[in-house]
Amino acid sequence: MIRSLMLSVFLFAVSSMSMAGVSAFNMRKGVTDTSHQVYNLHMIIFLVCCLIAVVVFGFMFWALLKHRKSKGAKAANFHESTKIEILWTIAPILILVLMAIPATKVLISMEDNSEAQMTIMVTGSQWKWHYRYIEDDISFYSLLKTSDDEIDNKVEKQEHYLLDVDKPLVIPIHTKIKFLLTSDDVIHSWWVPDFSLKKDAVPGFINEIWTNVNDAGTYRGQCAELCGVAHGFMPIVVVALEQDEYKTWLADQLKQKAILIEKEKQSVGETLSLEQLMAIGEQVYVERCAACHQADGKGMSGIFPALAGSKIANVAGDYKTHIDIVLNGKSGTAMQAFKNQLSLVELAGVITYERNAFGNTTGDVIQAEVIQLILNPVQQDSQSSVQSTDQMPEQSKEGVKQ
C-alpha cells in the first residue's frame, strides 16, 4: 500500500513536471534561471529518494510477504556481516556526494550578488512590506488588499484572496536586481516562490539576495516567518514588466511623487472640519491601527493597549503625547512610527479620529499644520520641511526628535 502511495506520488510529480507553471502538488518551476535550477535540483533529489524508497521498501515488503511465520518461514540465524555493513555505509555516501555536487553549484551561483544593475531595499514591518528603489529614490508601502469582509466570510472571496496588495513591487525583466532586506520590528521573511527567493528580514541587519526575471507577469508570495497576529496577512506581489514598460512606469511614479509633495505643501495651509478629518481618520484607522487596537478601540488586554478612554487619547487639549506616539512609535513595544507611513492629512485625521471615536470625547480637532509644526518646528517653508507619504528627506528626520 505504501509502495503504491509512493508510486502515485511519483506519477503526480512526473505529470506535473511536464506542465509548465504552477502545480497543486509540486514546487513550481518559476521564471528565473535560478528557480529552474532549484526546481531541477528538487526533482533530482526527490527522484533519488523515490528510487531508494522503492529498493528499501521492496526488500522490506518482500520479507513481510515471504518470510512470515504463517507461511511456514523458519528464522535464519545470521547476523553481523562486515561486508554488507560497509556496503550500505559507502553506497549512501556516494549517493550523497552525487547530490551535493549540483547543490553546491546552484548555491554558489545563488549567493553571487555581484554586478547587480539595480537595487531595491525591502523592509518588513508588522504587517506590510516597504520597497525603496535606491537609484531612483522612490518608495512606497505595499499592504494587503483583501477586505476584512472577505476574510470574515461576509462576501465572496476574490480570485487572489490574501495574495493581493494595494501597490505591488514593479521590476523590469532581464535585469539583475539586488534586494537588500531588513525589518523595522520582528523577523519577517520575504518569499516569492516563482523567483526561488526566500530570505529573512532581520531587524538591525541587512540581508542580500538577487534575481533576474525572464518572463513578464505577476508573481505572488507571502511572508514566511511567523511575525505576529497578522503574519498570514502580509502578501508580496511583484509585477515584472518589459524594460520599456518599466521605464514608463518609473517616469509615471516620479511624476506622481512630485504631485504628492505639492499636495502635502497645500494641505498644511488647509483647515478641515471635524467630520472631514474623522472620515479620513476612520479609513486610516481601520487599515493601519485596528489589527492591534481593534475596531472598537478597546485593544487586546495584556498585549495592545486600549485607546477608548485612555489617558493619552481622551484628555481634551492634551494631545502632544498622543501625536508623539503616533509619529515616532513607542520604543520597547509593538507601536511603530507612522510619520513616514502616512501623509500629514492622514496623520491629522487618524489622531483626530482616535480622540473622538470609541466614546472618547476630547473634541480636539488636529489639523495637518499642527503635525507639520511638531515634525519640524524650526523651518516651515524650506525644502526640508516638505512632507509627503514616506518621502521625507533624511535631514528633516533629525529635526523631529524633541
Binding site: 535540483l41 535464519a76 549512501p92 495574495l163 531587524p203 541587519f205
Partner: protein
C-alpha cells in the same frame, strides 16, 4: 530492599505522591504523557478546524497562534519526552537487572514538578493577553519586545520542564552506569537501554542551553538587556543559533529512544537476532554526535555566509548515513525471519516505512538551495510530523502494546488494538501526506488563513486530522480495558522475546531484582 517490603506500603493518593518506586513513577509519567497527548491533540483539532476552509471561522489569529505554539510545546515537552522518560523508568531497571533507579527520591521530584510546569504554561492561556503566541521556537524579538505580558509564565514553565528533564537524565545515566547486573557488559546492553543512555547525555548537554536562552528572553523582555535586540548591540539571529543548538539535539532526544524500541520489537516478532547490534550502537552514537554540528540547517534563510551554508548542508546530509544504517539493519533483521504481525510489530513496521519517508524529506530539506523553497512551508510541517508522529509517537504506541502485558499482567484486546492501528495508519497519512503537496505548492506554515488554491488539500488534511484524533480514543479504551482485566499474561509475553524484563512475572511485582540476576 527487605526493609522496604516490611514497611506498610502507602495506599491511595499517598502511594502516587510519595512514591520512589521506578514502576510507579514510570506509570505516572506515562499517564501524564497520555493526558498531555490529548491536550495537545485538542489544540491540533482547533487548528485543523480553523484551517478546514479559507477565511476565519472559529478563532482569532491571535488565539490561533497561541494554539500552534502551545500545541508544539505540549507535544514536545509534555507528550513525547515524558513518555520516553516513563518507558525508561519502567523498563531500564528491569532490562539491566537493577532493583530500582539509582536516585529514587530525585526520580519522584523530577516527575512531580512536571505537572506544575504545564499548569503554569496552560494557565497563561486564560490570563488577559493570553498564552505564548510566538511559535514553540519563540524567535526573538517576537518573543521579547513584541510578546504579551505573560511571557514570564512561559519562561518559568520551560525552566521547570528543563530541570525535570535534566534530573531524569542524570538518573538514567547513573542507573545504567552503576546498577547493571553482574555480567551485563556495555556491549550486552539492550538497544533500548543504549538509546536511553545516549539520549540522557544529549539532554544534559542541551537543556542548560535552552535554560540560558529562555533566561535571556526573560531579561530582554523585563530587565532591559539587549541580547537579541540590535538597537542595543544584540542580534536576533543569535537567538536562533542558541535555540537550535538546543533544538536539533532535541529532535534526536525524541527519536533515539524510538530507534531503541523498534530495535527491540523487530527481532522479537521476526524471531531472529538484531542484524547488526554493534553497528546499531555506533550509529546511535554517531547520530548523537552529528546532532551537535547541524543546527544551522534550520536557519538557512537567516542570511549565513556561503561557507556556513555549505558546512551545514554537508553535515546534515551525512546524518542520513547512520540513519540509513539503522533502517537497513531493521530490514536485514526482518529478512529470512519468521515474521508475525502482533500489534506492537504493526506499529514498528509502520514506523520503519513512515519514519523513512520523514527521513527522506529531511534529506531534501538539507539541500540548501531547495530548502530556500521548502523552508517555513507545510513541507516542513509534513516532514517533522512524519518523524515525530509516525516516528516517535508510533514507537511509543508500539512500546505500550509491547510491554503493557508486563505492566498490567493482562493481555490487551487484540481486535480493538488492531482497529486502533489501522485507523491511525490510514488517518495519519491522510493528515500529513497532503501537507507535502500544499507546502511545495507554496503554503507557508503558521498561518490561520490561506489562499484559495490550498483549500481542497486543507479540507482533506483536516478530515484526516479529526479521524486521527478520534482514533486515539480507542487507544485509551484498549489501555483501560487491559488494566481492568483480560487474558492473563505469561512471564514471557511474546513467544521468544529476549531480555531480563521477561524473566520476572507479569504483572511485574512492585520490587524486582532485589537480588541481581547473573548474565551469562
Amino acid at each position: 530492599m527487605n526493609q522496604h517490603t516490611s514497611i506498610k506500603a502507602a495506599t491511595g493518593w499517598r502511594r502516587w505522591v510519595y512514591t520512589t518506586n521506578h514502576k510507579d513513577i514510570g506509570t505516572l509519567y506515562l499517564w501524564f504523557s497520555l493526558i498531555m497527548f490529548f491536550t495537545g491533540g485538542l489544540m491540533a483539532m482547533i487548528i485543523r478546524a480553523e484551517l478546514f476552509q479559507p477565511g476565519l471561522q472559529l478563532v482569532e489569529p491571535n488565539f490561533f497562534n497561541q494554539m500552534t505554539t502551545v500545541h508544539g510545546l505540549i507535544m514536545v515537552f509534555g507528550a513525547v519526552m515524558p513518555a520516553f522518560t516513563g518507558l525508561a523508568n519502567w523498563m531500564v531497571p528491569l532490562m539491566i537487572g537493577a532493583p530500582d533507579m539509582a536516585l529514587p527520591r530525585m526520580n519522584n521530584w523530577s516527575f512531580w514538578i512536571l505537572p506544575f510546569a504545564f499548569l503554569i504554561l496552560l494557565s497563561s492561556l486564560f490570563m488577559p493577553g493570553g498564552g505564548p503566541n510566538f511559535g514553540w521556537t519563540f524567535y526573538a524579538p517576537l518573543s521579547t519586545t513584541y510578546s504579551n505580558d505573560n511571557t514570564a509564565f512561559f519562561v518559568f514553565a520551560i525552566h521547570i520542564m528543563g530541570i525535570s528533564s535534566i534530573m531524569g537524565a542524570i538518573n538514567v545515566i547513573v542507573t545504567i552506569t552503576n546498577m547493571r547486573a553482574p555480567g551485563m557488559t556495555w556491549m550486552k546492553l539492550p538497544m533500548f537501554v543504549w538509546t536511553m543512555l545516549i539520549t540522557a547525555f544529549l539532554l544534559i548537554m542541551v537543556m542548560p542551553v535552552l535554560a540560558g536562552t529562555v533566561t535571556m528572553v526573560l531579561t530582554d523582555k523585563y530587565f532591559g538587556t539587549s541580547f537579541f535586540d540590535a538597537s542595543g548591540g544584540g542580534d536576533p539571529v543569535m537567538f536562533q543559533h542558541l535555540f537550535w543548538f538546543f533544538g536539533h539535539p532535541e529532535v534526536y532526544i525524541m527519536i533515539l529512544p524510538a530507534f531503541g524500541i523498534i530495535s527491540t520489537i523487530i527481532p522479537t516478532f521476526s524471531r531472529k537476532k538484531l542484524f547488526g547490534y554493534h553497528s546499531m550502537v555506533y550509529a546511535t552514537v554517531s547520530i548523537a554526535f552529528l546532532s551537535f554540528i547541524v543546527w544551522a540547517h534550520h536557519m538557512f534563510t537567516t542570511g549565513m555566509p556561503l561557507a556556513g551554508e555549505l558546512f551545514f548542508m554537508y553535515s546534515t546530509m551525512i546524518i542520513s548515513v547512520p540513519t540509513g544504517v539503522k533502517v537497513f539493519n531493521w530490514i536485514a533483521t526482518l529478512w529470512r525471519g519468521s515474521i508475525t504481525f502482533e500489534v506492537p510489530m504493526l506499529f514498528a513496521l509502520a514506523f520503519i516505512v513512515l519514519f523513512t519517508i520523514g527521513g527522506m524529506s529531511g534529506l531534501m530539506l538539507a539541500i540548501t538551495p531547495a530548502d530556500f523553497q521548502y523552508h517555513d512551508t507545510y513541507f516542513v510541517v509534513a516532514h517533522f510530523h512524519y518523524v515525530l508522529v509516525t516516528g516517535a509517537v508510533f514507537s511509543i504506541m508500539a512500546a505500550t502494546y509491547y510491554w503493557i502485558p508486563k505492566w498490567t499482567g493482562n493481555m490487551f484486546h487484540e481486535g480493538l488494538a488492531k482497529t486502533h492501528f489501522w485507523l491511525s495508519l490510514v488517518s495519519v497519512n491522510i493528515l500529513f501526506f497532503p501537507m507535502h503537496f500544499v507546502g511545495l505548492a507554496g503554503m507557508p506554515r503558521r498561518i490561520p488563513d490561506y489562499a484559495l488554491q490550498f483549500a481542497d488539500f486543507n479540507a482533506l488534511i483536516s478530515i484526516g486530522g479529526f479521524a486521527f484524533g478520534l482514533s486515539q480514543i480507542l487507544f485509551v479504551v484498549v489501555i483501560v480495558k487491559c488494566i481492568r482485566g483480560g487474558k492473563k499474561a505469561k512471564a514471557n509475553v511474546w513467544e521468544d522475546a529476549e531480555g531480563l524484563e521477561w524473566e520476572v512475572p507479569s504483572p511485574a511485582p512492585l520490587h524486582t531484582f532485589s537480588t541481581a540476576p547473573t548474565i551469562k
